[in-house]
């Protein structure tokens, strides 16, 4: 047998064309433009001069990449401090939400108690109330508690508020999908209720936990109304989204290039979280969907 006959396709066998793949990739690239362009615009405008942003015809890249803009972001207000505020508040939100939602989700999924379904429906109904409706009562509550002008409301409210309801729902759906025999086996092996939660249910919930970690982080990072209401006016207490609105000149107009530079910096943590947890995120979402 010659070398050629070994590598040549068998007679009658169809060679798969590469054109469909190329076509599909082309379509996806075109569809991605509306999503990627604003991001690119934000980044490039962040390195432009103040007038370059409004140049006509528009420029899609700065003439010279002005790194001074970054310095100005930090010079105009305590952006570094605000960044740290956002990071630690988001981290505490993630940690707190994981603890509360996994315990509550487990209880709703696995511990039979009278009125469980009613309580769960009532619990879910919290999602129907928009934050805008609740913000004034919350403000009064926080004032009574003496927490205004501190970060405590920004940490406590999301852990027990609407973001935790979604997280609890995701965890409940996940725990419902765990075979009951696993828990039976663990009981015979010698675990109690909390032991089963800690050693069996929780380690198996990693994808769901990653999902709620990302969702909670995003919600906290992007949260605008609560910090605006609870810590308004004190630059050192502000979080990034509020800080971004402070890059204005004396007439209240945004200083676009500096604001874009600050905005570009503000998406870095989100990109980092996505890169590390993307796999879990997709799996968690799809699981929650199937079980729903």
């Amino acid at each position: 047998m010659s070398a050629e006959s070994v590598v040549s396709p068998l007679p009658g066998r169809r060679v798969r064309s590469r054109w469909p793949a190329i076509g599909l990739t082309g379509v996806l690239i075109v569809l991605a433009i509306p999503l990627i362009f604003p991001l690119w615009w934000m980044i490039s405008a962040g390195f432009m001069g103040a007038h370059e942003v409004f140049a006509y015809p528009p420029r899609f890249a700065p003439e010279t990449w002005r790194l001074d803009n970054i310095d100005e972001v930090f010079a105009r207000q305590p952006f570094g401090r605000q960044f740290v505020n956002s990071v630690y508040i988001a981290a505490l939100n993630v940690g707190g939400t994981i603890v509360v939602s996994s315990l509550a989700g487990y209880a709703f999924a696995r511990i039979p108690f009278p009125g469980r379904t009613v309580v769960f429906v009532l619990f879910l109904s919290a999602l129907l109330m928009p934050l805008e409706v609740l913000i004034i009562p919350l403000y009064i509550l926080m004032k009574e508690l003496g927490w205004l002008g501190t970060h405590v409301p920004l940490i406590v409210e999301p852990i027990f508020g609407a973001p935790a309801v979604v997280a609890t729902f995701v965890m409940r759906q996940h725990f419902l999908s765990l075979p009951i025999e696993l828990e039976d086996a663990a009981r015979i092996d010698g675990l109690g209720r909390l032991g089963i939660f800690r050693h069996i249910a929780l380690p198996l919930a990693k994808p769901a936990l990653a999902t709620i970690a990302i969702l909670t982080f995003l919600a906290s990072w992007n949260s605008f109304l609560e910090p605006l209401v609870f810590v308004a006016g004190v630059p050192e207490l502000m979080t990034v989204p509020i800080g971004l609105t402070q890059y204005v000149e004396v007439y209240g107009e945004p200083i676009w290039n500096i604001q874009m530079a600050a905005s570009s910096l503000s998406v870095v943590p989100i990109l980092v979280v996505f890169v590390f947890a993307q796999r879990h995120f997709v799996r968690g979402i799809s699981r929650a969907g199937i079980q729903g």
Binding site: L182, D184, A185, I188, L191
Partner: protein, 361 residues
């Protein structure tokens, strides 16, 4: 000593009585099979023994100790589940060792026991794998290994073979039998498969609708079923049943099935004039062209279906509108539509009261 005793145990789920006055005793070292159709209460009984369900009333004893209020982990039992219930996030080693760790067994002792069990079950190469990397048969062995490593007083098995394919099931059935002989511990095995029950059990307890029907050796159940249900449930293909009325003078009483008068001997004397059910297993109906007639009642039949099984034929026969099954030699010359003269083995005819469905001896 690890006997297991159910003493008038009831289990109700709302209005449903899942287990109804169950009383039975499993001997030390015995392999007892609980068998019955789906929903007969056999798994509930096992789960109550494990402590995973609480009985509504009655007592459960392991050895001399009443375990009604004892937590599952303190009952000195181990259980193999139908879907194996291996912990997906733990290696095979950790799955087997987990229960021992929780009991505070010294590390060296855990390692020795896991290695021993792995040796018995051929799991040595798999100890570092996760359950998802194992085949169904391997998972099943790990589940059994986890139970053995605990060295419990009583093994509980809940349909452990039903997720395996037919060939592996037969192979594993034999392996479980060997393991039981080697370990020698009291074992209670739940299945809906009467072949598993017959081949594995020292004794078999047949349940139906939450009620224990009969407990006995496989031969007891096969040869002397106490009622129509047990007679029909045990044996494959099932026993043939014929409705009959007892006629004739005392000493010559016979069951009139419509197509034959089946002599019943003295046991039927008090039954003259009553409706009964006659039972005869397919292997007790013979081809009279190959067997002598003595002790057999000749019946003219028509062959409706012939099933060739390699080592035998299953014939679906009809006589006077009634159909029944016979198992005959594989080289029997017949075909659908042909006439066949068969003999009912009169020594093997079982007699049941039509009203109560109880056996009449």
């Amino acid at each position: 000593m690890a006997t297991v005793t159910f003493d008038h145990v009831f289990k109700r789920f709302g209005d449903v009585v899942a287990v109804n006055d169950l009383s039975l005793q499993v001997r030390d070292g015995e392999f007892l099979v609980l068998v019955g159709p789906s929903g007969c209460g056999k798994t509930t009984a096992l789960r109550m023994l494990a402590g995973l369900e609480e009985q509504t009333s009655g007592d459960i004893l392991i050895g001399d100790r009443k375990v009604n209020d004892v937590a599952p982990k303190d009952r000195d039992i181990a259980m193999v589940f139908q879907n194996y219930a291996l912990y997906p996030h733990m290696s095979v080693y950790d799955n087997i060792a987990f229960g021992l760790k929780l009991r505070g067994t010294p590390k060296a002792e855990i390692e020795r026991r896991v290695k021993d069990v792995a040796g018995i079950l051929g799991l040595g190469e798999l100890l570092h794998r996760k359950p998802k990397e194992l085949s169904g048969g391997q998972r099943q062995r790990v589940a059994v290994g986890r139970a053995i490593a605990r060295e419990p007083a009583v093994f509980l098995m809940d349909e452990p073979l039903s997720n395996l394919d037919a060939k592996l099931r037969i192979q594993t059935r034999a392996e479980l039998g060997k393991i039981h002989q080697r370990v020698g511990k009291t074992t209670i095995y739940v299945t809906h498969d009467q072949v598993e029950a017959m081949t594995m059990g020292d004794r078999i307890a047949v349940m139906k609708d939450g009620v224990l029907q009969q407990i006995g050796t496989p031969q007891d159940l096969h040869d002397r079923p106490v009622n129509l249900f047990v007679a029909g449930f045990i044996g494959s293909p099932s026993m043939n049943f014929f409705s009959a009325r007892v006629t004739g003078a005392p000493g010559e009483a016979a069951g009139d099935t419509g197509f034959a008068k089946v002599p019943l001997g003295h046991r039927a004397d008090p039954l003259v004039g009553r409706d009964v059910v006659l039972g005869l297993r397919p292997e007790d109906i013979h081809d009279l062209s190959r067997q002598p007639q003595d002790g057999r009642l000749p019946v003219e039949t028509k062959v409706e279906v012939v099933e060739y099984l390699g080592n035998e034929l299953q014939l679906y026969l009809a006589a006077d509108g009634q159909t029944f099954v016979a198992r005959v030699a594989a080289d029997t010359q017949t075909q659908p539509g042909a006439a066949l003269r068969v003999g009912f083995d009169l020594r093997k005819v079982q007699l049941f009261d039509k009203a109560t469905e109880e056996a009449i001896r």
